[in-house]
Symmetry: C2
């Protein structure tokens, strides 16, 4: 058993001064010190630091680290057509794994314990997740040219690979698929009683083109086709109408906010105020490193609140506690990781320890606001997944030397980009 | 002498693989290794890390750390009147010094070597700067009720306190002063041949009210009154017109961008595209921790580019190299620290070492874009001011225990806020 003591804990009801004990992969006790203490393998003096659930990066393309700082400051279509697509065509499983490892290191160093990923070479991807003990949920990425029926095999295969890997039904987006794909995925959703995910209403253009093509918004189209019978959600959701939000609320769907990406690609700002009014479930994602460029959940939380204030022209807009909750519990719910969403007995020990002794966390007027408005990855003291410490005080514990990971990623990057 | 070797250097002309040698407070050599090497006190193996000029935080109110996370999510007027003004009234020199120390620790941990500060209790403020060897330039903060003639004494006094302290002419803003103040400051500017600074066009309301009051924009009013005969500049400059930008360009004035603060207070977005078209000098500031809330120049650089893209609706807007330059050299020029602006022979050794071995810096497709789009304070390996290491690998070297600094700041914070 591992004991965390002498610090703060972000519990579902608020910040406490409890202890947290971890047995195997799970949290076995949250409460005050006991008179009769068990034998611990390790006792961690928090010295006032904060134990909180790990961040859940609810939308990303981890394998795109090779395009970090290589595809910036271009209009969206040019970015996709000149920098992204031609270089992605040169990927293979080996290079993909190398690039994913860089992303996983960044997640760990930023207090993130799970990602909801949509990209290529799923076998190579899940191998890294299994080898490193990092929770990686894949979302099906069907586009034109893919056989939508593949979702049946993939669903069975990747949902039976142990605790670190999962697969969710989905497709890339409305504008990259035809109605036949949506029909097949809707049938699969009914078959598996499973939620469905995709990029949705990221840009004005794509949203308007859907209306021109189908007479309704992407969200309404997906509802009409029965895709949300078991929930699911959308990535980005920038151009959601009130009706779209109603549809999401009705089906318990989650809108995953990607504020940095939407800013960097000048797509727009997520309508947070509207989503809050409609009571839509929220989660937070970084999107891929080609469109962000960091994989930093602190920056996302900050930017979601900040851009909400700018969008509404109202300094009172946004809600740091809500967005922190979206970045941890909301993401876990979205990804189907219901047992990784909180610091509570029986939950998986997927957690991070926040260093409250860095100057940006002082004074401590409000722990939650300090995290959302001032936090950054330098505050991450430890990241633990399923009870195993994977990152602590700048060191990684993933069974591989980070320098070797960087060298390999650099080698493949040069091979692809020159 | 101290030797930095085996890494990268951000020099004025670009990134090189030179060595950097520091002798006393200054840089004495930048170039390749020599056959005949001098004796060094310390040789720092960069291992591929980057030496760059320290960030210059060109607009801040360091003493406001006590309000971090205590005054958020309120409309600007309510924020000022309910949270800021009444609590600031409880400050004294002792508490001010305690709060400033927290800010200085945060600057050091974020690679920042100087700040351009506007706040109260200048004697207490400069004492911390001198004791800690942190470069702190003060800007006069005249408002209604202050005697503007005080600038003469202050200018002489604080500009003769050694290399770490300086004083620039200025006043709080147009809307907090009358014409008599501007006249007195303009006379002082002529007397000292000195630049003049103030908050300028931060909000739409204040800018419109100036036009209603004086028939011209604040910038035009200041030019008309002769305040910019020796240059200077403005903080925020969100509602600058093309004419305002022309005035700044004509006088070599600097617009200090405060993107996080302008977002968090919903003030608006700085017109970067217009400023670039007009060739206006730029610098970067965090503003105070009550309106940001972090003092993180990485986040500022990112947000300036990101909000420029959103403002223009164009992913190609912004310019990471320009903004990085604004955050280091532009700030130094603005503050009158001309010898702290670059890694070059004869310049002061005010520098930071960026850890390129963190996953967010990999792969290295473009060092500058990695810094601006992916960097965060966890990448700061060392911060040196005037040749003295003040921060390295998480440790501070300021002659005081950070824990004691935090405890004192917490004590005074509780005394003021309850």
């Amino acid at each position: 058993m591992i004991r965390f003591y002498n610090g703060l804990v972000l519990e579902p009801a608020g910040v406490t001064e409890n202890e947290v004990w971890v047995d195997g992969s799970a949290i076995c006790y949250v409460g005050p010190a006991k008179a009769d203490m068990p034998a611990f393998e390790r006792e961690i003096d928090l010295k006032g630091d904060l134990v909180m659930p790990g961040f859940k990066n609810a939308h990303t393309h981890s394998g795109m680290t090779f395009l970090r700082s290589a595809a910036d400051d271009l209009p969206l279509q040019e970015w996709l057509e000149k920098q992204v697509f031609p270089n992605e065509a040169k990927l293979d499983g080996e290079s993909l794994a190398a690039f994913v490892k860089v992303a996983f290191l960044e997640y760990l160093a930023g207090g993130c314990t799970a990602c909801f990923d949509m990209y290529y070479f799923p076998d190579a991807f899940v191998q890294v997740a299994k080898d490193w003990g990092f929770r990686a949920i894949m979302c099906e990425s069907l586009t034109f040219g893919d056989d939508p029926a593949r979702v049946y095999d993939r669903y069975e295969k990747y949902n039976n690979m142990g605790p670190f890997v999962g697969f969710r039904l989905g497709f890339h987006a409305e504008y990259t698929n035809g109605l036949d794909t949506f029909k097949t995925v809707a049938e699969a959703a009914r078959h598996f009683k499973a939620p469905v995910w995709c990029h949705n209403s990221e840009t004005k253009k794509e949203t308007e083109e859907c209306v021109a093509r189908h007479g309704v918004s992407p969200t309404r189209l997906f509802e009409d086709m029965g895709l949300y019978e078991y929930g699911g959600g959308g990535y980005h959701c920038v151009y959601f109408t009130p009706e779209d939000m109603d549809i999401f609320a009705r089906h318990g769907c989650t809108a995953v906010i990607n504020a940095c990406s939407n800013g960097k690609l000048a797509s727009g700002v997520f309508p947070l105020k509207l989503a809050m009014e409609k009571g839509v479930n929220l989660a937070v994602g970084t999107d891929g490193p080609a469109s962000n460029n960091a994989l930093d959940m602190f920056r996302e939380m900050y930017l979601i609140n900040l851009t909400a204030k700018l969008r509404e022209g109202d300094a009172a807009a946004g809600d740091p506690a809500l967005i922190l909750n979206a970045a941890v519990s909301g993401g876990a719910r979205a990804m189907g990781l219901a047992d990784c969403d909180a610091i509570a007995v029986g939950k998986q020990a997927d957690l991070t320890v926040i260093d409250m002794h860095r100057p940006n966390m002082r004074p401590v007027n409000n722990v939650v606001k300090n995290l959302v408005y001032s936090g950054n990855p330098s505050n991450v003291r430890m990241t633990m997944i399923a009870g195993v410490v994977r990152y602590e005080n700048g060191q990684f514990f993933v069974g591989e030397d980070p320098e070797a990971v960087y060298r390999t990623a650099e080698k493949y990057t040069r091979k692809i980009l020159g």
